[in-house]
Symmetry: C2
Subunit: 270 residues, 2 copies
């Protein structure tokens, strides 16, 4: 995985694209950019159970991911209404279409993983859209820098100084040394963005949020790894040279993005 | 299943208890009554995959069902916040607790069925609380009568005149003849309640809603049957003499209750 020759060009392209989307895209354009990442990640997620012969319903899954997204874009569509519309559609579909005992046997796992996957990817990542919409692009940078610098710090310093393993099953290479380095890196990254771009906010809140967001990112990443390990794969896809799939790149943000949104909503940074 | 000696006393007791809850309970009392049915049904739902050695996490499932319920009781808790809180907790729990390869292998199915089950039961049935809270007990009777009279009509007349099977896998005994009789019964039941209790509402809407609610109840019931058939059981439990389990009794309402709420919210009956 740590192949600089392949990783660096991909990373530079990704950073440039992501920057343009966050900084310059109109509201709807950014929404669609988020949807692109959600759909790419969701496809990868649905591909995982297939390795163990559990076939999810990708069409219904993408539909659920989409109605969840619509509930984020349109104020008048509640998540409740979105979820129920899907339940109704999925109910009619499954009752009408399941005609063999084999299909009955896999049905509960299939509908459950389809349902869960759409929430796991679409519900969580749509908070990027809400953060930019309600608080502006600088807050998105703040979140991204904390998570990415924290991840990279943990990785690089863990490789150099790591001795004591953390979660052997979920992420066998993670060490406590890497973890502490990651936390410090995340705080430095967060404070840097706060000083440059968010100077009207409070320093101690930037530090507190950096700690919380980094901590949650460090749970979010091995959580995704559990899905990959269960499927017996190392990367969710090979689409991004040296980086695996979209889901591998975005995994730390799955819990961090909504957490940041609710921290801003309930506590605020100023 | 059609054992009048056992069914009738149970039915009378259930009707009396349900009537007292709907008519006389204070808001919070009715909320707790709904929670009792949700938790009983959810326990039965989680018991089903166990027959096929898929162990759901009942504690996390009950927690999700409960935070979903709280989002219905407290206006300031959105379903979004409730779901995210659970994601965070479940993420930390699974990452910290999964230490063997066996647990990794069952993890995706386990978390997905846990998640789905709580939505399938708690999200849907909590709409009973909303209907009574926002529109009053008479609307709850309207819903219950349509679904129960429709179900019973389909059952009784289907047994007498049924020839043509509908969904062989989901509900092998359902016939088109029973279905038409059920629809007529549901409309008669709905119009009766409208005439007696909801005379300020429109007759044609009562008929329209009766048709829609009955149709959806006829999907909701075989949908639950699919879960039972996949587990290889006939009833979700044997707790209600002659009636199976709570989930068996409530299955038709799982899609009908939220549909009625959104019909009232978006179209209205007057």
């Amino acid at each position: 995985m740590w192949n600089t020759r392949k990783r660096l060009p991909t990373a530079l392209v990704l950073i440039a694209v992501v920057f343009v989307c966050i900084q310059y895209f109109p509201s709807l354009g950014f929404f669609f950019a988020v949807q692109f990442i959600i759909l790419a990640s969701l496809s990868e997620f649905y591909y995982l159970p297939q390795k163990k012969n559990i076939i999810t319903n990708k069409v219904l899954g993408i539909l659920l991911a989409s109605v969840i997204s619509l509930s984020f874009y349109f104020q008048w569509i509640s998540l409740n209404l979105a979820v129920f519309s899907w339940f109704l559609l999925a109910g009619v579909y499954f009752v009408a279409s399941i005609k063999t005992l084999e299909k009955v046997m896999v049905f509960p796992r299939s509908i459950a993983l389809t349902f869960f996957g759409a929430f796991y990817v679409s519900f969580t990542l749509n908070h990027f859209y809400l953060i930019r919409e309600d608080y502006g692009p600088f807050y998105v940078y703040f979140l991204l820098i904390i998570v990415i610098v924290g991840d990279s710090g943990a990785f690089v310093f863990g490789k150099l100084f790591g001795r004591h393993k953390m979660t052997p099953m979920a992420s066998p290479k993670k060490t406590w040394e890497g973890s502490v380095s990651g936390l410090i890196s995340a705080c430095l990254g967060g404070v840097l963005i706060q000083q440059i771009l968010l100077d009207e906010t409070l320093l101690w809140k930037a530090v507190l949020f950096s700690i919380l967001l980094h901590a949650v990112a460090q749970v979010s990443d091995p959580l995704e790894s559990l899905f990959k390990r269960a499927a017996g794969v190392k990367d969710s896809a090979k689409i991004l040279p040296g980086h695996g799939g979209f889901l591998d790149r975005i995994d730390s943000h799955i819990l961090a993005a909504p957490l940041f949104y609710y921290l801003l909503l309930l506590i605020g940074m100023d």
